[in-house]
Symmetry: C2
Subunit: 338 residues, 2 copies
């Protein structure tokens, strides 16, 4: 690999002139410019960007902390981040953190050690580990998808509470009175917000909240399946199951069908996320659409603004959601209205 010095020698100029030829061509006379360019072409010279980054102190790299890259929703967010980053000349360093605090802390070190300029965190800070990032205030970071109130970073999210309320209202309007909810992990703010929206709707409709209808899952297909197993074995089973994401809803649907029940005649099922598979499920799944790619794009753009000092720290972007009504939800069965 040739260096700027070799180019300079071959062109018979100084390294500064070569550098200028590349950075500010108008500050170099046309004839030397040509001579330098010939030398560059001849040697196949490519500037060592590592050296450039080292000197400039800017890496042009953003780190994305993703709980699980093998998740359909996050995959879309990643796509959005990657494209936005690329279009602004940044690279995206992807980290699969599996929600592990230690791994996340480690990844954040990439910024401390000048290997990256900023961090995008797709998971909310664990409220039980408030000192997670000691240098919080210093670290250029944005939080996306799952955020916590009072975050000290810019955040990009949607109104999960309102969305969950909208879905629950949809189910209530279909006549459902025993509506189960399959939650995400206890520690997730997402879970808390969506649960709150569910409760908002029930209260507004004058319905009581039945704890036996609340099941904990972990956003995987299998946990949805397990939750449905529990719910179907209740003495008085629900007429609708609202799952906090589509994967769990699809897991639940499988169990419901295996139990010989039909959807939505016997039980309605609703999800959250509107992943591609939802429209192809049997029956197609009623869900909340989130603009996943936009989450990623926005997070990257906000982070770059932060890096350029253009964004104030408390910025909070709220993206819109949409209730997508498909065939997995329908009128409550009569037997459920005694």
């Amino acid at each position: 690999m040739s260096t700027i010095r070799e180019v300079a020698d071959m062109a018979g100029v100084s390294v500064a002139t070569v550098s200028r030829t590349l950075q500010q061509p108008d500050r170099v006379s046309p004839k030397t410019r040509v001579r330098v360019q010939e030398a560059i072409d001849h040697l196949g010279y490519k500037p060592n960007l590592m050296a450039v980054k080292f000197r400039s102190g800017k890496t042009q790299v953003l780190v994305a902390l993703v709980p699980t890259v093998a998740n359909v929703f996050f995959a879309r967010v990643i796509k959005g981040m990657q494209e936005a980053a690329a279009s602004q000349g940044y690279s995206l360093l992807l980290m699969n953190t599996m929600g592990d605090d230690d791994i996340e802390r480690n990844c954040a070190k990439l910024v401390d050690t000048s290997q990256a300029d900023g961090v995008i965190q797709l998971r909310a800070f664990n409220p039980f580990a408030p000192d997670q990032f000691q240098s919080e205030a210093l670290l250029p970071m944005v939080n996306a998808c799952e955020i916590v109130d009072g975050a000290r970073f810019p955040t990009v999210t949607l109104d999960n509470r309102a969305a969950a309320k909208a879905m629950t209202e949809h189910l209530i309007s279909l006549g459902h009175r025993r509506i189960a909810m399959v939650k995400g992990p206890q520690s997730s703010p997402l879970t808390r917000d969506r649960l709150a929206g569910y409760e908002d709707a029930l209260k507004a409709a004058g319905l009581s909240i039945d704890d036996s209808l609340l099941c904990a899952g972990d956003f995987t297909l299998s946990s949805g399946y397990r939750a449905a197993t529990t719910l179907l074995s209740l003495p008085k089973r629900p007429t609708a199951i609202f799952c906090e994401n589509d994967e769990m809803a699809m897991g639940a649907m499988r169990k419901v069908r295996e139990a010989g029940l039909s959807i939505p005649e016997d039980i309605s099922i609703a999800g959250f996320d509107n992943i591609a598979f939802s429209a192809y499920a049997e029956p197609p799944l009623t869900t909340i659409a989130q603009p996943a790619e936009e989450f990623g794009e926005t997070a990257v753009n906000v982070l770059i603004d932060v890096l350029n000092g253009k964004t104030k720290h408390a910025l909070k972007v709220i993206l819109p959601f949409e209730l997508i009504t498909r065939q997995s939800t329908g009128p409550a069965p009569d037997s459920a209205n005694p």
Copy 2:
């Protein structure tokens, strides 16, 4: 951010001693070691890894060229790559290439410009653009998942032809004679290999190959749906549809159900990949399991071996597949055996 020089000053030693304290602590006397460590702690010193990488000429970064990160199968491969890379002290730079030659070429430049050490390509080289990478021989690269014969790089793949043959034989053994295939994009070697396996099995069973039963798709749910639409409108429709991936199979299943047919009583459906959703489909999908995470891990490990000069260029790793028989395939309907 403090530098090694500040640490040296504070500890009253030279920069070399500080460097040694971190690199080869045994070459420093215990008492200075302590003094240096105190200075490091006190200043919160973190070595600037950009400087280290610049000087060493090693970036410890691997680039992954992924056609679409928003794909369930690739997401699993990415997970495998990410973990293997992390465990060997490498970072993974993820690039969503959308199969675009220009973008891929650009990404490969990351190596030329010393921003990355090597490349993992998850897509086969476009046979129509043989000069894709001019510096092919020089670029440390491995090709995974989708490879082409005679590749000049190490490759990690599975025997797609044998796998497709096994699936087709399974369908034949169930009595199917009119077996349709939903292919991937024309340009994909995967498509060619799986088609060849399909033809192998048909020939071995003395069945003729009917071109009207071959449909082109693009590995998306919707293309599977469209392909099924075409196949169902044939004067003499197939009794089984073998899709080259699970997404297309799930798209096809949706169409078949919408047409009022049952699976597998009227039509059997088979996929390829064994993504998580397949087991939860209605009915659960018969498919070929690929060790997706292992693809990623192996590709990373081979690439690191290449970087360390431990692997010869022609290495070819073939991973095992497994035929997973679920309920989407069953005996051919009688009417199909005239």
